[in-house]
Symmetry: C3
Subunit: 310 residues, 3 copies
């Protein structure tokens, strides 16, 4: 049974994950209709409380809420440091007093959604907090793999790139592990967290070894500041060693799919050609994001309401 | 009978105030439902025309409009000086031509909502103009006191802080006076307007004297620029002399409540402990703000429509 | 039959224009109702993808979408140069994957809406691209003239000002020509495109000659940077030679109307007195903009739906 909030995949059980993915399958069907709207959350208020700018995730949640007939309020705040967390909590409490049915929080500091959830009546959904978790991203990745492969159990999933700073990587490691996949992480040693194996993954510094036999290869976005900093010799070298292209992909399984959470740095993490065509499923991930977020909103706020009626 | 616009509490009669508060009582009930939405303003268009940034007031109006099923359009403009008021009026006229049913205006210059109302077909609601008025804030404060005390007539209400620059203070002085309360203002002499007694209030420079026997103590937000300027010796001294805490509150009536329009400067105008717990009712004020704004929107735009049906 | 996208008036036939204008006539009626909302596009998602800031056009499309019961998502992006067009296309593809029913694009570079349309499933509506086209502006201008004059065929329409940089002028030249009007352009020689007569218009550098006998005089907005640059000697000289006022208007037909796409520079392109009163129809243009955009949204996205029902 999914809890009151959705703060991370780490907190969820296999049953929770399966229930969300099953619900998303129904929600996906709504997005295929001519009238892409069900009355499930009519009269519910959802607040997008984004302390870090985001357009795609915010838009995905907004569309998800509106397809469920909820009223969606966007509330963007300046990026805010931990030292100001007092006022963040007051902002959150103020919004909570307006009786929202869910508050979606993004913040560049890990743990802020949890701190907000501790003082709010409304359920809190973490839309990304620092390098901690981005649970709905992992859910849409799980959903996408399930649609492509028909199962997750027993698959080999390789995550490539800046594992150290990636909330997407962390959430996906938890999610794929809980559903029975073997997870590998690959990247330059400077971008692999020390002791990452404690999460139940195998770590590789050779891309070829890391993706050998993989069913799923997931490239991560690398922030420009990493490329110019001490982590990586140069963009060119990063791309040569860790950027995905069709040649390198031959080491994976023949029917392997390629994923990326976006936005992509073309020619850095992934070649143009690969980004735009199968076996990459990047736009399917985006498409599935709306369905998965509809499922999460429904499960957290849709008490005693019919789910899929029209 | 409430007029075409809501520009200030000064313009309203006792009957107007009572009618708005009575309507808000019905609207409050909508916010307690599972489906927090009535069709009252379906097909009506409400424009939030904010020339001064605001998140809580804008959000409160947006939620209020959506709970009445109105379409709410947010239109944020750069802060604009009086010298540009020509283009402000053209902007307002342009929006008016799109046939909105209400335009909500915030501007840092006193009188701009009135100037806009003079040229618009749509009713204008003042959401705060310079140091002039913030009528819906006063209405939600009146509503909150009425809910807490069962009456306003005969109460003693003390407003503490930067009276000079506060539109919240002005609107509340008008509102509480019209409904029969005794109103006192307290603050450092530099922050009390000369001749404030002409508004029918008693002015105090001693906090203890000002709150002695008060039923309601309302702290105002003090802007940081006042604290660093010529008005106040220092934050520490301001807080020591004018900041509310439980010790100072003992001079008020035993069942006195504490209010603040937010956002609060914790430890300056009000102690942490007092801000977060009774007798402070700060989050009730926020909650009631949605109901009061629903009432105002309904009364100004809801001609010939059933008010509370579902 | 109107095509999949609306990228420019140049692409449309006379039948397309007439169909849009006829549909707008029905939509206009919706805006006069107490409940200004029809269920035509219920469950459709419309994305405002604005790379160039705009408040009036964005708001007009948002109101148009909401009056048709569509869900409207605002997505503002920083102004972006052609060199970044890769990431613009990725942004557009990402939004497209969320299954919108229409994407409205504004960009300061000519041709970007077309490039986006080439990769999108959803219909694209150009809301202004560089100095290329602004088709819905021309449509609302055509609609306004049709309402005022009862016909377009055989009218003389004079466009005054910065023809060189104006997407409004280009779209209007195409539109009025296709519907049978004689079109003249007037302005300082520096602001008339070389070879403009190839578009089927007559070019004048004398305002008096240009508006002599005109049924419609349309002033264009002149950007401040043109007034301070090499194009025009000074604001005063521009205004004296090209600014419209009642005295100069006497050379036009007695019942000539005056138009302007807004926002106006009062006292530069048009005198205060003329801007605010007949024969200028500037606010009618704005009003009609909502109806015309409703028509365009309906025709591009409303397949197999009743158009005007309630």
């Amino acid at each position: 049974m999914i809890g009151r909030d959705l703060l991370g995949i780490e907190d969820l059980g296999r049953d929770d994950l399966e229930r969300i993915l099953e619900t998303a399958r129904h929600m996906q069907e709504v997005g295929l209709r001519d009238v892409k709207r069900v009355p499930t959350l009519r009269g519910r208020t959802i607040i997008n409380l984004f302390f870090e700018s985001s357009t795609r995730t915010r838009t995905s949640f907004e569309i998800a809420g509106k397809r469920l007939s909820a009223d969606v309020i966007n509330f963007s705040a300046e990026s805010s440091s931990l030292s100001k967390s007092e006022s963040i909590l007051d902002t959150a409490r103020t919004l909570d007093a307006m009786a929202p049915d869910a508050v979606i929080v993004r913040h560049k500091v890990a743990g802020v959604p949890k701190r907000i959830a501790d003082v709010l009546d409304a359920p809190v959904i973490n839309a990304g907090d620092g390098a901690h978790e981005h649970p709905t991203q992992a859910l849409l990745d799980l959903f996408t793999v399930l649609q492509e492969k028909g199962r997750i159990d027993g698959l080999t999933v390789t995550i490539v790139g800046d594992i150290l700073h990636s909330r997407v990587a962390r959430s996906n490691v938890y999610g794929f592990r809980k559903l029975g996949a073997d997870v590998r992480v690959v990247g330059p040693p400077t971008l692999l967290p020390a002791g990452v194996e404690a999460l139940g993954v195998k770590a590789y510094s050779s891309l070829r070894e890391g993706i050998e036999g993989a069913d799923v290869v997931m490239a991560l976005r690398i922030q420009n500041e990493r490329l110019e900093g001490a982590y990586v010799p140069s963009v060119r070298e990063y791309s040569a060693a860790w950027g995905l292209d069709r040649a390198k992909l031959r080491f994976a399984k023949e029917d392997a799919i390629v994923m990326h959470p976006g936005p992509i740095n073309r020619g850095v993490e992934i070649s143009h050609d690969l980004a735009d065509r199968r076996p990459s499923v990047i736009l399917d991930q985006v498409r599935n994001g709306v369905a998965v977020r509809m499922a999460v909103l429904y499960l957290l706020t849709g008490r005693a309401q019919p789910a899929y009626g029209d």
